[in-house]
């Protein structure tokens, strides 16, 4: 009887020798932490670009407002002088020359709330990922075994490489986009400068 009990208990104790769950948990803890880290980095990069683009939009609107103000001064002057003909001519040309509308499918999303939503979502995501990584870390510290990990190793490598590619592309494209936004800002400054110098 004692030999039996000892044998069964020894075998049951041995059943803890699998390391599959620990290896998986370990890998996923590492991957989850990495996702969290890169996600936060890219969120900051995207915020920076969005800020640059907002600045250019503000500049464009300011330049447009300045040009509109110059135009209004002429119209006001003609109105004061009773020159209705010139005012009518301007209105007619504006009405006749209809601006072409591009077939762009843009959702009417309120810009401010969209900005806020992106920032809040990024923070919430980081917290959740942090929590997942910690919990997985606890599991990874435990007991031991199996070989199912071969598949997941290859699998994660494939996914990791896809994510890496996408991220490299994003870094590159974001840098290019920032350069282009900066070029646009310079062009706008030059256009606005030349407009104010144009003799009337």
């Amino acid at each position: 009887m004692h030999r039996w009990l000892a044998m069964i208990l020894a075998v049951v104790a041995l059943s803890g020798c699998s390391t599959v769950p620990q290896e998986l948990a370990q890998k996923m803890a590492a991957y989850t932490a990495k996702i969290k880290e890169t996600d936060a980095g890219y969120a900051a990069m995207r915020d920076e670009l969005a800020a640059a683009r907002h600045a250019v939009v503000d500049q464009m609107n300011a330049d447009a407002a300045a040009a509109e103000a110059r135009n209004s001064r002429f119209i006001d002057a003609w109105r004061l002088a009773g020159d209705k003909r010139r005012i009518d001519m301007t209105d007619t040309l504006r009405k006749v020359s209809v601006p072409t509308v591009l077939p762009v499918d843009l959702q009417p999303a309120p810009p401010l709330s969209a900005d806020t939503a992106a920032v809040v979502a990024a923070k919430a995501r980081a917290e959740k990922l942090d929590s997942a990584a910690k919990a997985l870390g606890t599991l990874a510290e435990g007991h031991s075994l199996s070989d199912d990990a071969t598949f997941y190793t290859q699998f994660f490598q494939a996914i990791g490489s896809a994510v890496q590619d996408a991220r490299e592309k994003e870094t590159q494209e974001t840098a290019t986009a920032k350069n282009e936004v900066s070029t646009k800002a310079k062009e706008l400054a030059a256009t606005a400068e030349s407009a104010t110098k144009t003799p009337k």
Binding site: W4, L5, M7, I8, L9, V11, L14, S15, G16, C17, S18, V20, P21, A25, M28, D39, V57, M60, A64, E68, N71, R86, M89, T90, R94, S97, V98, P99, T100, L102, L106, Q107, P108, P111, A114, D115, A117, A121, R125, K128, L129, S131, A132, A135, T138, D147, F151, Q154, F156, I159, V163, D165, K169, E173, T176, A177, E180, K184, A195, T198
Partner: protein
């Protein structure tokens, strides 16, 4: 003897299912189970890929505000020019201003993109600018006409083909065509000839548009953009042809593999099949200048082939296929194609064995997402080309409007009595001949902004937005993939820790063993 047998059964049950394979039986640990559930819940709630959806919403909103600002600024500048022309009370200065605004812009569009305001334009240069604008108008009108002729010829061809071959699918005509379509009856030959002639004339007109020469530099916005579009189209055709060749090689390798019978030949053909698929998947555009992401066309073909094979193997499980079984003749090619996938090639099962269902399902989802990403990136390239073409149309429109404005101001006005002897605004709005001509000239100038310049500037911002959006979308699909693939093993971990043997179960097992032992002893 009975005790030994029982010992072997019990030991086998536990050992065989525990240690060094996939564990089926293990001890339950409350803390591990709770940690696994917590990990999965937190990971699921993080919704990694969804975070970028908010980013995309932000991009859309940004792009919209950019386009609105571009429009506002362009229209303000247009009105500024019109008001300045109408405000000038001195006749000479008024028409000089008109001439300078039109001529300088034509120079930038047709000869020198970097020409600044105040550039002197002599009479000879001006004449060449007019000739270039005339040439562009002629070629544009011809191209449009020939496009309509092609559409009519296609219509006739379809009718004649359907009449002559009622049970066949009607082949699609393309201009230029890579091969001659069927023309085996006289009426079909006539329709086809009309199509080919119109196509040739259309291509000539397009080439003429692209080759418009400026007075000296021929380096205007028009030439730059035309050459960009032409190059993009040429590169696309080159890549498409190369992919078609590789696709043909892959199909031949697949057929050869299916036909192979002796083991050595099967092995050789399997290697050839893998090599053909690899060539498609890793199609390199480095030797195709400007190829960029177009190489994804090959990757898409390879992913489609792998996904089709993986899905066929998954379907096989519904009709009795077994994981680890040797593939039948029908399954052989699909197994070989599936085994070209890194994770499946790396598993320890034999190359001709059917992989496990769970693994195939994971790969199926991964391949679907990878395909979605590749198709999305390629679609961005298509949109980029479409936007460049839209900008080219806007440029042609601007040149045409400025050409008409120039024509009114030069020929028509100089022929009329002293139209240029009065300020631009003098006769505008009256029914006199000068008044009508001036109205046309000013409307043309206004339209050069409304139909041309405004659209060109908006397209520039759309291209910028597209560049950034494509990278965010690419990251979004990649992260969704990661999300799915971390979540599956996490679910497994939860199930694993939940399924552990609890202490009370172990005690019950011991009690049963004792009872058996007592029974066996009696």
């Amino acid at each position: 003897m009975t005790r030994v047998a029982l010992a072997i059964v019990l030991s086998g049950l536990v050992v065989g299912s525990s240690g060094c394979g996939i564990p089926l039986i293990h001890l339950y640990r409350e803390a591990d189970y709770t940690a696994a559930v917590k990990a999965r819940t937190a990971f699921t709630e993080a919704k990694i890929g969804d975070g970028l959806v908010a980013e995309r919403t932000r991009l859309e909103a940004l792009l919209k505000s950019e386009l609105e600002a571009v429009r506002r600024f362009a229209l303000a500048r247009r009105d500024e020019l019109l008001i300045a022309l109408l405000a000038e009370t001195d006749a000479k200065k008024s028409w000089e201003r008109f001439d300078v605004s039109v001529n300088e812009r034509l120079l930038v569009l047709l000869d020198d993109a970097s020409a600044g305001s105040g550039t002197k334009i002599d009479e000879a240069t001006l004449k060449k600018l007019k000739d270039a604008a005339d040439g562009l108008r002629l070629k544009t009108v011809t191209a449009r006409l020939k496009e309509e002729e092609m559409a009519l010829a296609v219509h006739a061809y379809r009718i004649e083909f359907a009449r002559g071959h009622p049970s066949d699918d009607i082949p699609t005509l393309s201009c230029p065509s890579s091969k001659d379509p069927l023309a085996d009856i006289p009426t079909l030959t006539v329709a086809l000839k009309a199509y080919k002639t119109a196509c040739k004339d259309y291509l000539d007109a397009r080439a003429g548009m692209e080759n418009i020469q400026g007075p000296s530099k021929s380096d205007g916005l028009w030439q730059g953009l035309s050459s960009q579009v032409k190059t993009a189209e040429g590169v696309r055709a080159t890549v498409q042809n190369r992919i078609a060749d590789l696709k043909g090689q892959y199909k031949a390798a697949k057929d050869a593999y299916a036909a192979a019978s002796d083991p050595k030949e099967v092995q050789e053909k399997a290697a050839a099949l893998k090599s053909a698929l690899d060539k498609l998947a890793k199609f390199d555009t480095s030797n195709v200048p400007g190829g960029g992401t177009l190489g994804l066309m090959g990757r898409i073909e390879a992913l489609q082939a792998q996904l089709a094979s993986v899905n066929k193997l998954v379907d096989g499980f519904t009709t009795g296929a077994k994981a680890g079984a040797t593939a039948t003749v029908d399954q052989r090619a699909d197994v070989a194609i599936a085994r070209t996938i890194g994770s499946l090639a790396a598993t320890t099962e034999g190359a001709s064995k059917i992989p496990a269902l769970g693994v195939l399902l994971l790969e199926s989802r991964r391949l679907e997402l990878e395909l979605e990403r590749a198709r999305g990136l390629l679609a961005v390239e298509d949109t980029r080309l479409a936007l460049l073409k839209r900008k080219r149309t806007a440029l042609a429109s601007e040149i045409d409007r400025l050409r008409d404005a120039r024509l009114q101001a030069d020929t028509e006005l100089s022929d009329k009595s002293n139209c240029r002897g009065k300020p631009v605004a003098a006769d505008f709005g009256t029914s006199s001949a000068c008044g009508q001509i001036t109205a046309f000239a000013l409307i043309d100038v206004a339209d050069s902004w409304s139909e041309g310049r405004l659209v060109e500037e908006q397209v520039d911002w759309l291209l910028l937005g597209l560049r950034y959006r494509s990278s965010v979308e690419s990251s979004e699909v990649a992260l969704r993939q990661w999300n799915n693939l971390v979540d599956v093993p996490l679910a497994r971990l939860v199930a694993y820790h939940e399924s552990g043997i609890k202490l009370e179960t172990v005690l019950a097992l011991i009690n049963s063993a004792v009872l058996i032992w007592i029974g066996a002893a009696q």
